[in-house]
Amino acid sequence: MRRLITTAAVATAAALALTSCGTTEPAADAAAPKKQDKAITLTDASGTEVKLDGPAEKVVGTEWHEVELLVSLGVDPVGVADVKGYKTWDQAVPLKNEPKDIGTRGEPSMDTVAALAPDLIVASTDLPPAAVKQLREIAPVIEVRSANASDPLGQMTKNLDLIAEATGTTERAGEIKKDFDNALKEGAKALADAGLDGAAFAFADGYAISRQVSLRPYTSGSLIGAVNERLGLRNAWTVDGDKDYGLGTTDVEGLTELPADVRFAYIGNDGDKSSTPFTGALAKDKVWTSLPFVKKDHVHRLPDGIWMFGGPVSMERYVDALVGELTK
């Protein structure tokens, strides 16, 4: 043991000698003067006033909702948390560049973000306050509340406008909002024409881990729940959702609480085996197979890659897919 520790110490000393001196970047000289003519001041979701020298171009996004908004506004982020996950779950708004992976959405790596030297960081209010404080040392940060169950659509629009303002893409944001409104109107009309106005509808996703299935009902407070209501559908879930995402928790039994005439839709992902219990673990579950809406084949799988917590573009894709399925 002692020999081991000594060896380690000698090796350490050697390594120290070898790494001494040398820098990875030259020492800073006097900072170059920045242009102040197009300065932007805005207030983010945490109430903090953020000052930008001008419309941000090198932007980092820590949560997929914000990344999607950036991409749909035409701003290609230089850093994105969990790039692989984004590519799996948000194919509605694919990344157009190859951004640097900054780590997980919950704990983005400060080192990596700092090394990117962004001029704006779009963070989620879900990040720990201490982490946001550190990010503010790196670059201006706008905190965005990714979801708000008391007004999901309003929050989404607010987020879009905030990010558009920071990146100088307000015009594009206007187009996106108009397209989304049109999609909602057309979708509602198509559903009404098919006699589905006011129909009972339930959207969920689920996970099956080691034969145990848990389902997440999307209540009226969820983004998708709000879109459904704008389409004239009636949310059939009776469970309560959380205060941000409007998601509840239930198991297979809980589905028996849904009315018999309900239409049921879900989004899974073939890239994530645990996320599609409806075709896997439940296929043999007697509770599931004896549900009236399962028997009537009123279960709809919507295409993979429509991000349930995304922005207007994901929701537009969702409306198209759902209306297509229900009026088939």
Partner: protein, 691 residues
């Protein structure tokens, strides 16, 4: 610290009253049946007692019937099976090891099974249930073999539990690391990782039941030999019992039983420890239960009652749509923990204080070289931690930064990285010092802020504050952690103080409080912020993420005070750690000194938790290692332990930040993963020296 079975076990009396045993068994059967019936009427579907009755008598609609048949009955059956096998496995392991602390949890059997399943899951091959139970069996068996092999069959029982808990911590850390490395399913896995008995149909239960029956039958066959083992190895040999073969058989069977439970429901904690303990209490009434053959079924029934009871309790107390989000394992842990604390407080603790580790006396030169070498290591690790990360730096960058001349990129990186490195260093040092103090005061080699529930209480306090006041500052956090730690340590030390810190009682109460606080933290996060798994992980696994310099001030202040006190009162520490009598003979106020050191230890671990979450293991490993390296005198142990603790956590944090960069693993996980092999090595080495 010979944790022996009560003497009544050693002498199975001829005067056993069959009526008492029958009555107790009948009572248990009734209890389990009643709990199962209540359990069947509870769930998210609107299927209550009336509907269940109709469904069972074939008069209900197809929907209600399917709920009862495909969801309720399987869940109750799974609860029954899982509880029963865990109870029996615990009984067998306790008999084999003559140790009331032995259980599938404390001998790492469950952790081994869980890791094996995690490894299998990572390969992405979906296996049939029976194959996964085979994998779980292999994992549990290997873990049990390692623990029993390292500790020496029948050798010191302290060593057994030390090796077991250490390996369990390490294995669980590796498993959790795997979950983080392959994060697609973290939400579900996090829940499963607590254990849940919900089932989709009867398949699982039906496939596992034969394995459980086989395990039970096997154990009943060797039951007589297990009774003989209780007399001691030599006596058993004298009776013609093949000691080694009996041990191996019983451990294999117990591993098989726990593997079926883990396969079916994930790691449901504590049942294997509690059920046998409860049966021991019942055995005072019914002497038939003092024999393994009577005890096994009784422990099975008690285990089943514990699991079903927890499930019923959960669904009675919280609305059904919330209850499904809470894993049953959380509740068994809570129920089990409360129960364990109560039991331990009433336990007649006959175990004597452990003889001090017999260690070679080290010379002054050895101490000086060891300390010097450790100091060089500390500097090296610190420098490496500052230079390495997602972006590699060179020393010149650091020099520029220190002089305020660094470029933008380097400044950013170092501004965020140095507080983390400091947090790891300080937390490691503080936990090591805290562990040293606690081990000295309690003279208990198992004592450690984590094991004793002090860290858990601190984390619970901090989490309570974070969930109620999201913008809490660093002093607020330290205060909340301290309040939590104070409550938990008052509970633990208060209950254990009766009759002088009884060795077993202290650790039992501590484990109980630690488990309860972990379960409560899990519960709190599921109930308040269900979709923020990261928050849970920071508090449960220790993380230096997002630390800023002000967060470290309370910790640094307490550490300075702690070191000053420890160094100035070093002689008193030496005396306190020796035995009860010497300090008294010398006229020292033992109680007051002990209390002071304990308060200091609590302060240290609470501030460490506020700064870096619950990092287990350091408090256990560092003092042990320090004593092995420099001898027993605290003037030498304290600096060595503090240096070791800082090196250990800093290394762990460095690895956690770089191995899967830019994603990161909690320092707590890495500490356990790094600390376990070393700790096991220490155990082996101690054994080779012929302790």
């Amino acid at each position: 610290m010979a944790v022996t079975a009560p003497p009544s076990v050693a002498r199975p009396t001829a005067a056993a009253s069959p009526t008492g045993t029958a009555a107790v068994t009948a009572g248990l059967v009734l209890l389990v049946a009643a709990l199962a019936v209540v359990d069947i009427t509870q769930g998210t579907a609107d299927v209550g007692a009336g509907e269940v009755w109709k469904a069972l008598t074939g008069r209900a609609g197809a929907g209600d019937t399917s709920v009862v048949v495909a969801s309720r009955l399987p869940r109750a059956a799974a609860g029954l099976l899982v509880g029963a096998v865990l109870g029996m496995a615990g009984t067998a392991l306790q008999a084999v090891s003559r140790n009331v602390l032995a259980s599938p949890d404390t001998l790492a059997v469950n952790a081994g099974s869980y890791l094996a399943l995690g490894l299998a899951a990572v390969t992405g091959v979906s296996l049939p249930l029976i194959a996964s139970s085979g994998i779980a069996f292999a994992g549990g068996l290997v873990a049990a073999a390692v623990v029993l092999g390292l500790s020496g069959l029948g050798a010191g029982t302290v060593r057994l539990v030390l090796a077991g808990t250490a390996l369990a911590l390490g294995l669980t850390a590796v498993t959790e690391g795997l979950l983080l490395l392959f994060p697609q399913e973290t939400q579900g896995l996090y829940q499963w990782n607590q254990g849940g008995i919900g089932q989709s149909g009867f398949d699982g239960v039906l496939q596992m039941a034969p394995l459980a029956m086989a395990g039970l039958a096997g154990l009943l066959l060797v039951a007589r030999r297990l009774d003989a083992l209780a007399l001691g190895d030599d006596a058993a040999r004298g009776l013609g019992v093949p000691v080694r073969a009996t041990r191996v058989t019983a451990v294999v069977l117990a591993s098989l039983l726990s593997a079926t439970a883990v396969t079916l429901a994930g790691p449901i904690g504590f049942v294997g420890l509690c059920a046998p303990a409860l049966v021991r209490a019942l055995a005072r009434r019914a002497h038939g239960l003092t024999r393994t053959r009577g005890r096994l079924p009784a422990a099975g029934l008690t285990g089943a009652a514990l699991v079903l009871g927890s499930d019923v309790l959960l669904r009675t107390l919280v609305p059904s749509d919330v209850a499904v989000a809470v894993p049953t394992g959380v509740v068994t842990s809570l129920v089990g923990a409360v129960f364990l604390v109560v039991m331990a407080a009433r336990l007649k603790d006959t175990a004597e204080a452990a003889p001090p580790d017999r260690l070679r006396i080290r010379g002054r030169a050895v101490f000086l070289t060891t300390t010097a070498v450790l100091a060089v290591l500390l500097v090296g690790v610190t420098v490496a931690a500052v230079l390495l990360g997602d972006s590699k730096l060179l020393l010149g960058d650091v020099v520029n930064w220190a002089q305020g001349r660094a470029g933008r990129g380097v400044s950013f990186v170092l501004d965020t990285r140095t507080p983390r490195v400091l947090a790891a260093l300080l937390a490691g040092a503080a936990l090591a010092l805290s562990g040293t103090l606690v081990q000295a005061v309690t003279r208990n080699p198992l004592a450690e802020p984590g094991v004793l529930g002090v860290s858990g209480g601190a984390a619970l306090g901090a989490v309570l504050l974070v969930t109620t006041v999201p913008m809490a500052g660093s002093w607020g956090m330290a205060g909340a952690a301290l309040a939590g730690a104070a409550v938990s340590s008052a509970l633990v030390f208060g209950l254990a103080a009766r009759g002088g810190f009884g060795q077993n009682r202290l650790v039992l109460v501590g484990i109980g409080v630690a488990t309860a606080s972990t379960a409560l933290i899990g519960l709190l996060i599921v109930l308040t912020d269900p979709f923020n798994a990261t928050k849970a992980l920071i508090w449960l696994s220790g993380s230096t993420y997002g630390r800023t310099p002000p967060d470290l001030v309370p910790l640094a202040a307490v550490l300075v005070v702690g070191l000053a006190v420890a160094v100035s009162r070093r002689t008193e520490l030496d005396l306190v750690s020796l035995d009860d009598d010497t300090p008294r003979l010398l006229g020292l106020g033992l109680a007051r000194g002990r209390f002071g050191f304990l308060v200091l230890a609590v302060l240290l671990s609470a501030t460490a938790v506020a700064a870096a979450g619950t990092i287990g293991f350091v408090g256990l490993v560092a003092p042990h290692a320090a004593r092995a390296l420099v001898g027993r005198r605290h003037v030498r142990v304290v600096p060595a332990a503090v240096l070791l603790g800082a090196v250990l956590v800093c290394t762990a944090d460095l690895l956690g930040r770089t191995v899967i960069a830019p994603a990161q693993l909690g320092a707590g996980l890495m500490t356990a993963a790094v600390g376990t092999p070393y700790f096991l090595y220490l155990l082996v080495r101690g054994r080779r020296q012929g302790r």
